[in-house]
Symmetry: C2
Subunit: 240 residues, 2 copies
DNA sequence: CAAAAGCCTGCGGGTTCCCGCAAGTGCTCT
DNA sequence: AGAGCACTTGCGGGAACCCGCAGGCTTTTG
């Protein structure tokens, strides 16, 4: 068996190397990459089937890398090993995992025992392993309460990028009013609601900007997601 | 000599412990804290004069902790050891460093040699050590080109928090129009400018929201700064 | 000292946002 | 089949935003 480690922090990388070789004696070779870009090429070169992947990396983040890898080989087994359980990450991962693929999501703060267990479960037993805290996040996230539908999430990203309602409606193929309706839902779910009836001046907020901040503070959005959305936006704008 | 290490990642913490004891044989005791909160109390308890401090931590970030520590003992020597050279961090640090205090800002990606050198320079020689990349950031940041004055930065934070112009004017004791003028400057410095003359529809952006995102993407704002500003805002709102 | 440059402010208007009201579609559940 | 729910769209209006124009104040500079 061969394992590919994709992780930018050298300390964490060498820690992972130790853990992998301790947990998987049947592992013959360990390859290492220090960013997503490099990870993709190494995965392609060695036809890697077992990968441990960090999420937050400079050159190209783990979600992007995993997506292209899975697109080429959907049966690749990937263990995501991350510092945080941000909703943006969890959502990003579960959006790209192919049907029936074995994967894991383990926080860097878990014990060595649980990490080793996860390595064996995913790479040998072919089962999914999701850390409890992450699982909790998922539940809360995909429950209808305060849960965002994909289309709402899209539009949340759009206003975060600073697009106007009109342009959003153009991009998402909706009417202006529909976009604004979506915004209302988003505002209420993020609990930044205007008190509605009259022009009471109790809300000192610009709802549009406020929604973005609240989403960031709640870890619904994070830097990586923003960056990704920005490049997608640039791309879309060129072909308009 | 005694050294206090404040760092949430266990791997990095033990790495730091090794480096400190290797670089500073005269160091008799090493205390460790795993977040800013704990760091403050340990610093107070042991009257720590030499601190190595991570910036990004869960319970309370390094800038907050350093501020309260420096407020009690301005001659404390602190080496900030961070993953990133975000403008928000650099600005935050240089905003709180007391007059004449020795401090350092070293990236986690520097070599062990440079880390050891920095430890000796700051703790023994009482000199400031700023990593080159960080220094470059500082130059660019405080140069007038694309450099933000403190008051502009304040208002940038305010719109990031989602405040309306009127409330900003109230909070910052300015007229409505002045706030809007500041916003114009911010927009032009962030290069999200409307083409000005007529109502040309070339800018598909809501400038207010766009400015915030661009600032985030340029690392002018980051999560920590947002969080801090949010609690300050809450505090201000209560006393209104 | 006078000119220049910078910041603060008011006015006015065009645009965008926020949102209530209402009508139309398609789906589900009883 | 009819009620109920979710989603979409149009209209309209009040508030907020974006910004050019212009006058007053302070500081800096030749």
């Amino acid at each position: 068996m061969e394992v590919l480690i994709v992780e930018d922090d050298p300390l964490h990388r060498s820690f992972l190397r130790e853990q992998v070789s301790a947990a998987l004696p049947e592992c013959s070779t360990i390859y290492e990459a220090e960013n997503g870009q490099q990870g993709e090429t190494l995965a392609r070169a060695h036809r890697a089937a077992h990968i441990v992947m960090d999420l937050q990396m400079n050159a190209r983040n783990g979600i992007e890398a995993a997506r292209t890898i899975w697109r080429e080989r959907p049966d690749t087994r990937i263990l995501f090993w991350s510092n945080y359980a941000d909703e943006a990450y969890v959502r990003g991962v579960s959006r790209i995992v192919p049907n029936g693929a074995a994967y894991g999501y383990v926080l860097k703060s878990t014990s060595e025992e649980r990490l080793k267990l996860a390595l064996r479960s995913i790479f040998i037993e072919n089962q999914c392993v999701i850390d409890n805290e992450v699982r909790g996040m998922q539940q809360r996230s995909f429950a209808q309460t305060s849960g965002f539908s994909d289309s709402e999430y899209e539009i949340l990203m759009d206003i975060a990028l600073g697009m106007t309602d009109r342009v959003i409606s153009e991009r998402r193929h909706l009417s202006l009013r529909s976009v604004q309706n979506r915004l209302q839902q988003i505002y209420s779910k993020l609990d930044v609601h205007q008190s509605a009836d009259s022009q009471r001046e109790d809300s000192p907020f610009n709802l549009r900007a406020r929604a973005v901040t609240v989403a960031m503070l709640r870890k619904l959005l994070n830097y990586g997601a923003l960056e990704k959305a920005e490049t997608e936006l640039q791309h879309w704008m060129r072909g308009r």
